[in-house]
């Protein structure tokens, strides 16, 4: 298929997945902000719970440049949900996903396009005040449901062709990225805390984090014990039965690339295999020894490298005239911070 088509489909599913994850994150932030326990170091902006979604999504500097003054839940919610000037708001992500889907309408099934289109039309018709008075949590539930539904319609109606593979690839690339970022948030908040590890704040934060990826009850069923950072890391990184774990995402990515990559495009498959093996054979003790933050940052960088390779080989290929083939362009630096589509 045309690279442009693959690129649009890949981004369509990334944008929907990102909107879902943003909703999950904001939902949990909102719940945490209602608890009596606050993060220590209140003097620092980043310690405010409402700074978390900005930090995790790499939007802190963008936010501060347009929102001077004290951080508030109202301002962050507007910025992250309905702000059409913020390309990473749920509104903008859904708009972009629908635009990508519309331009590739011929490659989607009728059900998929209608689902995507009505999702967008409904979102556009929702007013921000009505959304808040109706309960922000209901709104986040609605976004999650829309994302579940679109994924379900995709799996349930679409021919298993190349277009399908790129749509699925987008979903899991985005989800892996999001789970890694989410795990790292504890580095910014809890670890340097003066609070006793295992204390109340600690507990609420870890359980909120698990809840945001629908993993709290799974944690209980698997470990039947108190929540510890090590086990959370193990569950969300290494446990392949957890559908939002990084390992589970890499399983899918590795398998899809096994189908997509040809002789000339083995590099993305190789890198995905390396990342997959790292999780498949990795042990959490080793990860904790390295330092969770360091491990996550390194992983995120490789994930962005994989994304760059997908661009070079499939999505926005660069042609090298001297060899008459598509060649990887030189690596771009700072990809890890690049969050916009």
């Amino acid at each position: 298929m045309l690279s442009r088509q693959a690129n649009n489909l890949y981004w369509m599913s990334r944008q929907i997945e990102r909107a879902e994850n943003t909703a999950r994150l904001l939902d949990i932030t909102h719940r945490m902000s209602l608890l009596p326990y606050r993060v220590v170091d209140t003097g620092q902006d980043w310690a405010d719970p409402w700074a978390l979604p900005l930090i995790i999504n790499g939007l802190a500097s963008e936010y501060y440049s347009s929102h001077p003054g004290q951080i508030t839940s109202q301002k962050v919610l507007h910025f992250m949900v309905m702000d059409s000037a913020n390309p990473s708001s749920i509104f903008s992500l859904m708009r972009a996903a629908r635009e990508n889907g519309r331009s590739m309408r011929g490659l989607l099934t009728t059900e998929m396009y209608e689902d995507l289109n009505s999702m967008w039309l409904e979102l556009r018709s929702r007013s921000e005040t009505a959304m808040k008075s109706g309960g922000i949590n209901d709104f986040f539930e609605w976004i999650k449901t829309q994302s579940h539904q679109f994924r379900g319609v995709t799996v349930g109606t679409m021919l298993r062709d190349e277009a399908y593979q790129f749509i699925r690839l987008g979903t899991f690339m985005e989800r892996a990225d999001n789970t890694v970022r989410l795990l790292d948030v504890k580095y910014h908040t809890l670890l340097p805390s003066a609070e006793e590890v295992g204390g109340a704040v600690d507990y609420y934060q870890w359980s909120a984090l698990l809840r945001s990826v629908s993993a709290l009850s799974a944690y209980r069923r698997i470990y039947r014990d108190v929540i510890t950072p090590k086990r959370v890391a193990e569950l969300l990184l290494l446990h392949e039965d957890m559908p939002r774990s990084v390992h589970a995402c890499m399983n899918e990515i590795y398998e899809i690339l096994g189908d997509l990559c040809k002789k000339e495009s083995m590099e993305p498959e190789r890198l995905a295999g390396e990342l997959h093996a790292q999780l498949h054979y990795g042990r959490v003790d080793q990860i904790m020894e390295t330092g969770l933050h360091e491990y996550l940052m390194e992983f995120l960088e490789k994930l962005h490298q994989l994304d760059a390779e997908l661009n070079q080989y499939f999505l926005v290929p660069v042609f090298a005239p001297e060899t008459k083939s598509f060649q990887p362009a030189p690596q771009t630096q700072g990809a890890a911070q690049n969050q916009t589509a």
């Binding site: 298929m1 442009r4 011929g106 499939f314 290929p317 042609f319």
Partner: protein
Amino acid sequence: MSAKPPYDEMRAADGTIRPHYRAHAEWLKHQEPGFLQQKQREANALYTRLGITFAVYGDESGTERSIPFDIIPRIIRPAAWKIISDGARQRVRALNAFLKDIYNEQEIVKAGIIPASQITGNPAYRPEMKGVQLPGDVYVHIAGVDIVKTDAGQFYVLEDNLRTPSGVSYVLENRKMMMRLFPDLFSKMPVAPVDHFTDDLLENLRAVAPSHTSQPTVVVMTPGAHNSAYFEHAFLAQQMGVELVEGQDMFVADDVVYLRTTEGPQRVDVIYRRIDDDFLDPVAFRPDSALGVPGLFSAYRAGNVNLANAIGTGVADDKSTYLFVPQMIDYYLNEKPIIENVPTYKLSDPEDLAYTLAHLPELVVKEVHGSGGYGMLVGPTSTKAQIADFRKVIEKNPKNYIAQPTLALSTCPTFIDSDVVPRHVDLRPYVLAGREVTLVPGGLTRVALREGSLVVNSSQGGGTKDTWVLEDQSC
């Protein structure tokens, strides 16, 4: 204008139904009141739902409209169709021969039939095309020839569209709509099918591929989703089963055009481009074009890719070249024109100019290089002041204008509100040239929905009808 009423394609002067409309008129008589209204509503709703629309330019919110569709078909007798079909094909053959000639030896100039200035002085003439050899010597692969009828057996060609004529998707969609709304009518009447148009188109495009391959890759090239005719581009690509591409999807290396695909570069052989000459290649033409492919023209010159239509066909379809088409038919084909040109006054000629200035209220005056109804005077529907103003414009630069009598276009029965009433129509059949010159039986009938109006353009209250060519010779 004369007092004679316009030619009614359905009813003879004495009010009787003409033979080829009888079956339809009989059927119409037996329909319940309100049935047609319901069908018309159904058609409107379907067109909107199926997204058969064109974008309205300058509307940020991306409004899309559908062209009004009339549910009464225009019916054409086999004998009349033969004139239209033979006449349109004859013109396209002559125009292709003309283009081949002027981009090579220019024999027609040497023979003194057309002045050199008419060609090389024309802004649509592309000197870059001189000496470029095209597969099958075909320049115009898809032409839309606008034809009007003014009396029994009397047809005129209004203009030839040889660049990127649009509208053929409506021919196919209108037919599908009619078969969906009135299946029983098709069992009563021998309507010639049109569905094979896209098969013919693909076959033609493959036939003009460069000789290096027997399995050519054909693509449809669009300026993008925001183009007003994007629906048609997507429709044609989908019907032919080929990729719909934008300029950014292609690149040129060593004079070969490739698609950027997920499986690496894929060679392109024939491009059915729905994008103007100027924008095709920023290296060869407009450097600010973001829609084109750098190096495309060079690949084309080298014979490694073919374009449909060729670059530079515009020189053959402007209003001053139009005057010479009868001579071209004589010169290249040694035939008499089957369909005549509308009598035309060239205002560069002092005699014609004098006549025109004396008869402005009866004439239509057009700019030689204009299109889309700009820079034009329709005498009978203009005010005295408008005519006076236009007279000054003409006098300033007479050679920039031509004038034609206002033609009494024929009328067809049309469903307006709840009545079937006559409205003026024209016809654009689509002619395909590849190994042979063919056209499907039918075309786009445009109808002026306002009473008495002669303007069929969709931007000015025009709609479309399905065009039925009957196969039964007895009609």
